[in-house]
Symmetry: D2
Subunit: 116 residues, 4 copies
């Protein structure tokens, strides 16, 4: 069957999460460079269609804990070092979705779907 | 409002497309290496949850045309060199989505949503 | 034979260029988001060992020309949209290397090697 | 001062390592998909100039140990799951370089430089 407007909005939200994660996972990051990376990730993904807001928080306390337990002074960005919330508006449907750790897995989930 | 099962399936389909594109865009590719890349992309994304099939076709004719018009003997993978179809099964909902060029833009779209 | 100190410095310079390019190629970018991306790329790669300076310039005029010729309002970062200069200091050897377009190819090259 | 032929060969070797790591870090991988990913990584990077051999080994035993300790059935490719050896030939200079874990850090190093 054909997709509905809210289903397309959810699809678009998923695209943004997958893009964000796999574009930026692996980026060298430290507490000194996390602020510029947060901003660049948000502004980059906001370029994509129907994406009205991207809020990225890199978790400096988690970064510091990781650095304290290893030899190098930076690490690679991965899901356990960030929280993300993305808002999509598509033809009157609004979707808010988020990513945060669920145990050891970076879980992406739909928080709210407002149908037109 | 809460999301429905088909909306979550569509969200999951979007995640896979964003992941696939932004993980592999930029990969050095030529007609000689496209077959192994196709297979690796498909098997890699099939690891992700609820993803039952990933069919990637790298378009060797488009690659060859691009190489004929430039100096280097390889190029970087981008949307105009591939077609992708992904199937998601989530709690009885099935979503089939695809990516192909729509003019000059690599369009990801929902082709079919089967609700439980 | 064993590698010399300047050879190791040149190897380190190459690592930084390959990292920078393949981490960030494919990032959605527009003239509105290029400043934050420039800064994040530079600060990110400066985290890597022996890397004393990374200067990234995203070429807004090239971005604008690309956007004027296509339907979408953003594009994907690739070599033709940036110039990069990286400085490496390794045990008294200094290497300055750069990337810029050489015809249609993003050429990475050693500009200067100062031996200890 | 100008760079020497072996220094350029070392720079090229570094480019390949940085490219390989940051293109493929973050790729979803499991023991079932590691063979196709190994092959695709090798063939992809061999497209780059002066690169005569890329040998990638994804360490299935390390993958299995990681999966046994977590909830998801796949993980993201990172340095601790692979060994890599790359050979560069540039104008009569041959460089062999490798990446393997050095404690908790994926160390890239020059193993051998043969000068023309």
């Amino acid at each position: 069957m054909d997709s509905t407007t809210p289903e397309i909005a959810c699809f678009e939200a998923g695209i943004k999460f997958g893009s964000l994660y796999h574009q930026f996972a692996g980026t060298p990051v430290s507490p000194d460079s996390s602020a510029s990376l947060e901003r660049a990730i948000g502004e980059s993904i906001e370029n994509q269609p129907f994406c009205t807001a991207v809020d990225v928080e890199i978790l400096d306390d988690k970064l510091e804990a990781a650095l304290a337990a290893q030899s190098a002074e930076y690490t690679e960005l991965t899901g356990r070092f960030m929280k993300v919330e993305i808002t999509i508006d598509y033809e009157g449907a609004t979707v808010v979705a988020s990513m945060a750790m669920d145990g050891d897995y970076p879980r992406m989930k739909l928080d709210r779907v407002e149908r037109p």
